[in-house]
Symmetry: C2
Subunit: 104 residues, 2 copies
């Protein structure tokens, strides 16, 4: 199966996730936000379904896509496991550096 990390390596896919965060949408509605073809968006959506991040509901001739809470949760899990305590410490360090700069 495809890698969940791959989802967010592509800019269009990230934006699709964001758009679907607002609620379910059809392919045509989603496509309207992108310069690429509807086919390209459709392929991205199928990929997102494949990795379990979204799901589809059919109604008439429309297909409504929406985020799958379990998939979103899994994605968050990936992030959390990647973002170790050491990295957090470094971020705190960076903020302190900026703080000092601001005071000089």
């Amino acid at each position: 199966m495809a890698d969940l990390w791959e989802v967010i390596s592509d800019s269009n896919r990230r934006q699709l996730v964001q758009l679907l965060g607002q609620g379910e949408k059809t392919v045509t509605q989603l496509s309207a936000h992108f310069p690429v073809s509807r086919s390209a968006i459709s392929q991205h959506l199928l990929f997102l379904v494949d990795v379990g991040l979204i799901r589809a509901r059919k109604e008439g001739r429309n297909r409504y896509y929406s985020l799958n809470p379990e998939g979103v949760s899994k994605l968050q899990g990936l992030f959390e496991r990647f973002w170790t305590n050491e990295l957090d410490l470094l971020v705190a360090e960076a903020e302190q550096l900026h703080h000092n700069k601001g005071e000089m």
Copy 2:
């Protein structure tokens, strides 16, 4: 310039970031953790330097790589901006689903 998102789209690069979270390391030390060639690791490191996530310090014939706090901070910023409130709500929803399952 290269995209910071690209950093984490590759498994080896993610692991490099994790390893460097433990402290500065040479190319050879890092390479020891991977099945690919030292050259491949070197190229990944140069890429990470390019996007500002790590930096190098030369000492004798060794080059010590370490995380750049500012770069790490930027990466965290990307994550945070991507992870909208809507996604958080969905994760809470997913957890509630699991909770209910566990109680049944």
